[in-house]
Subunit: 697 residues, 2 copies
């Protein structure tokens, strides 16, 4: 499952919508806001009328993990269920060459044995407030788009800060419909998170990259954490109950989680920019990195261990983007998009008042994407997704340099990630004692340096400044061997020393980040002033146009904030054959045998041994038509009574077009069955006590 | 070892030269012409003075294989030794799902069992003549570069054809020093080639992509063919004798083979074009394809079998280009190049007569590379290395379309690959009954179509014409399922039917190739008129300048024609430790154990079983300072007496910079030891008779 990854790595977040305008028959499409739930649809199609408390209870039982994924609280003692691949970063950091949790799995028999995570943060959405009016107050008619953007950012920082001071919650203003609405989200924030249980990597990701995004599947992609406060597990006000009997074929089910990003509301020209510029660049960067990481990992077992998170992340993103791009290369999909856009624009053009207000928005987006195209690669590599090359040390250096520059400024004037409201999370990551490996850091940085040399040419001024007369690899070695930033105390000293400490530091990575900062800020400013501001303004108009034409009963694109989606458990037709909705343990052992048990189809020894003990017809994985995307990884699947029946961990290949448009003909969400979770805890992992806690007995 | 690959795949050919001008101390550098051998150097440095007959004998004992590699005749009965990876295409074509020669290896106990190859051609260089004067006669002062280029091509075709008619040899005019010299090479051409012996792939490529270009190594990368004429093995006039006792550390050894391409004489601006434009593009295409092929191969064993050649080729090229590009990103190397160029230009500038004749050549190259940059990707994807995406069917279709167009023209006016002198080879490939697999063809073509959509944008006119309203994958399926070109009879019919048959054909691949041809020809013409012609003219001047300044005792860049190189068997220092020149069988079993025997460190069962029988201290692989590059794969290593002591199959990673400049500090050529070849034939492969034939007893 593509997941949203915190930072540094490529963020994957995607989907597809047959947006025919109001009244078109819509399948079970929709990533609905909890403050605008699809009550009408549920009533009409499923005769289901949940009370407001039902929605509140679900909302407050769900969590967002700072490593980039979703989860849910599944016991009164703050037990959190998510995916193994969401917990991967933490499992990697808690492992050593001698004790590799990715290989062996982990289970804390007692609370004392639960392992504290270094830099994991969990958020629970407590309340939502529409602040669109307050945000827009900041903008006057005389402002340019860039000025408006700045004023808006300032206002948002102000609203956020005020809300945090007033409520004590962790607050965030979420931009919806790409700028047509702004909602204030208030979260309970937890930072003492401990690892409770994870199965072996080989069963969590059985089939590896080969089976990723495929179906049928046989993966126990789960991981359990527990939320602590004051050294004790929290007493959860809200948590999801468990369904021991699971769900059945055709049953209505729900998913609540944090879909990362979709582009269903993008204009056709905006999609073409993604298709012809952004995605090809990102895919190239991913192919490149995947090949390099495979080479790095093949050198020895320790390399393979420390790079497994990077590799899995890259392969996952690569497969996701491949599917998304294939969707954009599908003329049928582009035709649907074009037709829908024509229809909406015609409706707006037909009303002179509407035309005057909103008619120019589409062309404005088209023009700004053309501008963006001209500096997209520079933005992506210096400030955007591909910047830093995934290097922990370089990211730390950059954050230290910018922190010194930003902190003295008034809150509203800072780069947005340095607002007071965000500092706690920033410090948590900055001071994380998680291990950093020289060899992997050198590999990441030399790859990053070579990338910019390849893209801009080795004589480009920013490239020569970064390389300082060395080859990419020699420069990476020099920086990684020379820096002291692996030492958390050094980081603290520099952070507390402010501008002066940064100016005086002769740490080579600090110096590099400092030298590059003006150029990186300049390209960021250009993006914000010339692209982001115009997009926000134009999509606010397009949103208004859409609301005026179809009514305000459409959901916004995904934004890594909590959404509710519903659908049915349902197989699909492929090449004339029916693919059933459920797989079982018998199928797992069959596939293991069929692929000769060689990697990535290896089974851990205790799984081989457990074959006779396991109830082989236990449902293992299932598929449903719920509308999800990267970031939804770890989301609970639950029934009308709010009981967990499964755990989302993937979508099939054909679901990747959901980035741009939804279809449920053959696209499906893939989940672990609640019955398999309990059966394997009891029969394979020796985690009887955990199983009891979950089922509440 | 990078090898030159016939067509379709990316051609890898490369190297490095510390060109300090005459008089500088030069290590054992040099890819020498057989008609200008380094007699002075051999005498001075090694006190070795071979007679002219020594060179003639070596020259006529060496062969070039049309699949893109080198070899040598090693018995009076026309036995040819080359690498397993050079024979790979043929091994793949001779395999079936039931009988996979790549897995099992092959040995023909009797002549009757030798397997006939479908489309392999072997050439033996018989004589060389300098025709520079005759070629240049064609060009008058009033011609533009483009006109000159056309006239030169015409003249070359005329010289070639006349020579073939007169001698019955297969002739080729080789462009040396990028245009300063033209030599006519006359080859004996053989097309009845049969497979005699190949070991299992797992021992031939032990360590796979992980160990490729590394040292120490443990690979039995060998393959034996036999040349037939009139259904009988040829009686070879010249063949290399065998050295049973091999060579020792520090011994002078020689390599004769066909290095593919080097850029040691390129101007600095030309190298920058490669560094910033050509190589990044090619590497991107390779990363992309490698990831896709890994996915394709992982799906099932049959996919892995049919794609193994593609995958190995791509991985090999990727590793080679990575090393070459790393060299160009090394400021020291670029400084050497810049200094040497400055020195030569200063010498030319100091002589007004020389300055007037040649002084503008460097700037001309710089300007033309700028022009090339503007259409490089279009050229590469429509007509150059990346065109056709490796699809056999698409290549067949294009050749049929062009054959119909070109054949009616006078020989001199045709596209150069359709000259009379080249038609035999063309037909051999065109009518090859080698198997073509739908699934792999669909994968190749959909990848190719997606590539051009990514690079040019999906709305580009050539892209929309190629895709014809379908997605890349749907279009590939439609074409592969719809074409009849898998049938050799259909190809013959179309080839014999000429223009008319092509115009009437409704084969979808013929139609596609036909529709695209004008655009492909246009971009090719642009390349030839605006780039190639200026390069030839300018390098002819630079060559003359160089000869005038340093004398004519320098070797030309590699051109996939026969060269002689010499050096010593010699280890190197790495991270303070000495890497010895030789490995042995004991080391092989040690590495197998150390890496757990898992792929790519698996050993075939009979190798595991043979451990006790083998003399474990037999030298297995060795390294030497001979100056080689991709295309040299399969070259013999021999001693002063002309006896085979080894078989070149690779260079180490640091040798990849030899593309641009030679250094022998840590860069080495890697070879299989002649003793290992005989020992394993006797003790592992049951090929006693073959061993006897080789050692001549």
């Amino acid at each position: 499952m593509p997941r949203v990854i915190r930072s540094g790595r490529v963020v994957v977040c995607c989907v597809f919508m047959a947006f025919g305008g109001a009244g078109s028959s819509r399948a079970d499409e929709g990533m609905w806001l909890f403050n605008r739930p699809p009550t009408e649809l549920l009533k009409t199609k499923y005769n289901f009328e949940p009370k407001p408390e039902w929605f509140d209870h679900i909302q407050r039982s769900c969590v967002r993990l700072s490593d980039g994924g979703s989860g849910s609280i599944v016991s009164p003692d703050g037990l959190v269920m998510t995916n193994h691949h969401v917990g991967l970063d933490q499992l990697e950091r808690l492992s050593t060459p001698e004790k590799n949790l990715l290989k062996t799995g982990f289970y804390a028999k007692t609370r004392d044995e639960e392992l504290k995570c270094n830099d994991l943060e969990i958020n629970v959405l407590w309340s939502i407030e529409d602040v669109t009016g307050r945000v827009n107050e900041a903008i006057t008619a005389s402002m340019s788009p860039a000025e408006g953007n700045t004023a808006r950012q300032k206002k948002i920082a102000e609203i956020t800060k005020a809300a945090e001071e007033k409520t004590g919650f962790d607050c965030q203003v979420v931009t919806l419909y790409h700028g047509a609405r702004y909602h204030l989200y208030s979260y309970k924030r937890y930072t003492d998170i401990r690892l409770v249980m994870a199965p072996e990597g080989d069963i969590a990701h059985f089939g590896g990259d080969t089976d990723n995004f495929e179906y049928p599947r046989f993966c126990l992609d789960m991981c359990f954490f527990r939320i602590y406060e004051n050294e004790k597990p929290i007493k959860a006000e809200h948590y999801l109950k468990w369904s021991e009997k699971g769900a059945e074929n055709g049953e209505l089910v729900f998913v609540a989680g944090h879909p990362g990003r979709t582009q269903r509301l993008y204009t056709v020209d905006h999609l073409k920019f993604l298709r012809d510029t952004a995605y090809p660049f990102m895919l190239n960067a991913l192919w490149r990195r995947e090949v390099q990481l495979l080479g790095f990992s093949a050198r020895n077992d320790e390399n393979a261990r420390i790079a497994s998170g990077d590799l899995q992340g890259v392969q996952n993103s690569r497969k996701a983007y491949t599917g998304i791009l294939a969707g954009l290369h599908d003329p049928e999909i582009m035709k649907q998009k074009t037709d829908a856009e024509k229809k909406l624009r015609a409706a707006i053009a037909a009303n002179p008042d509407h035309a005057a207000q909103w008619g120019d928005a589409w062309d404005k987006v088209a023009a700004t994407e053309k501008t963006y195209e001209s500096f997209y690669e520079r933005y992506a590599t210096l400030e955007g997704r591909a910047s830093s090359g995934g290097s922990d040390l370089y990211r730390i250096a950059r954050n230290l340099v910018r922190l010194a520059e930003e902190l003295p400024k008034p809150d509203g004037d800072r780069l947005r990630e340095f607002h007071d409201a965000d500092l706690d999370s920033l410090y948590l990551r900055l001071y994380s004692p998680a291990p950093i490996y020289d060899s992997l850091e050198i590999d990441r940085l030399s790859s990053y340096f070579a990338l910019i040399a390849e893209r801009f040419g080795a004589d480009d001024s920013i490239v020569t400044r970064i390389l300082a007369g060395k080859s990419p690899r020699d420069r990476a070695v020099e920086l990684v061997k020379g820096t002291k930033l692996k030492d958390v105390a050094v980081r603290k000293q520099l952070a507390e020393g402010g501008k002066d400490a940064i100016a005086k530091s002769n740490d080579p990575l600090i110096r590099l980040a400092y030298d590059i900062d003006p150029e990186a800020r300049a390209v960021r400013k250009r993006y914000e002033d010339e692209v982001e501001s115009v997009e926000k303004l134009s999509y606010a108009k397009i949103g208004a146009a859409r609301f005026a034409t179809y009514g305000e009963n459409e959901y916004p694109d995904a934004t890594f904030s909590l959404r509710l989606t519903f659908g049915e458990i349902k197989g699909f037709q492929e090449d004339g054959a029916q693919v059933p909705a459920f797989t079982d343990f018998a199928g797992l052992y069959e596939r293991h045998k069929q692929r000769g048990g060689v990697e990535p189809f290896e089974l851990p020894q205790r799984w081989v041994d457990a074959k006779d003990k396991l109830k082989l017809d236990t449902p293992f994985n299932f598929i449903c038509t719920c509308d999800v995307i990267g970031g939804n990884s770890g989301s609970p699947v639950f029934n009308r009574r709010g009981e967990v029946v499964g755990l989302v961990f993937d979508g099939n290949l054909t679901s990747l077009v959901w980035n741009t448009a939804f279809t449920d003909r053959v696209a499906r969400t893939v989940a672990v069955d609640s019955r398999a979770i309990i059966e394997t805890m009891k029969k394979v992992s020796g985690a009887e006590a955990l199983a009891k806690e979950i089922v509440g007995k």
